[in-house]
Symmetry: C2
Subunit: 97 residues, 2 copies
């Protein structure tokens, strides 16, 4: 199992229709083959600058690559992520030991 | 539910006995009251500087505070975390919507 997470903040104002539209549109990522345990999260620690997170799991690295290269993911990154996200960090986890 | 996560790297060399001892010692955090779904994780994305992550869940903010103030957690931070961790970032999530 590999857990792909990204913590981010948007260019949109908090609570704006644009923010809601981005989050709603991103739900489609859950339907890309191989995506498991898809979560949309609110980041609540005051110790970093981010407001949201997405988390998803893949069976293995190959499944993660299929997602990464999938046309729906590529289009989402191009059409929504790059224009609308102000800052982000990707963190990928595998079980330890 | 609130999910408390911290992504970090150690001062110790990768694969060293000191690294193993830190990770082994940190498993005791799972026994502090209120801690659920405790995970020790390896961070594998090349897009950040961190090597490990811990993740745990609490029923609510009050349970998170009990953990944070618990003497075992306070002692772990003082005796292990501060001396042995080179860099870290805390990320806390709650379900969105």
């Amino acid at each position: 199992m590999i857990r792909h997470t990204v913590v981010f903040r948007l260019k949109h104002a908090a609570g704006s229709p644009e923010e809601a539209a981005f989050l709603s549109g991103a739900k489609a990522l859950a339907n890309i083959p191989g995506v498991q345990a898809f979560e949309q999260l609110r980041q609540v620690s005051p110790k970093n600058e981010y407001a949201f997170g997405f988390s998803m799991e893949f069976a293995d690295e190959a499944a993660y690559r299929v997602y990464n290269d999938h046309p729906e993911h590529v289009a989402f990154v191009r059409d929504r992520w790059i224009p609308e996200v102000a800052a982000f960090m990707e963190i990928d986890y595998v079980p330890l030991g």
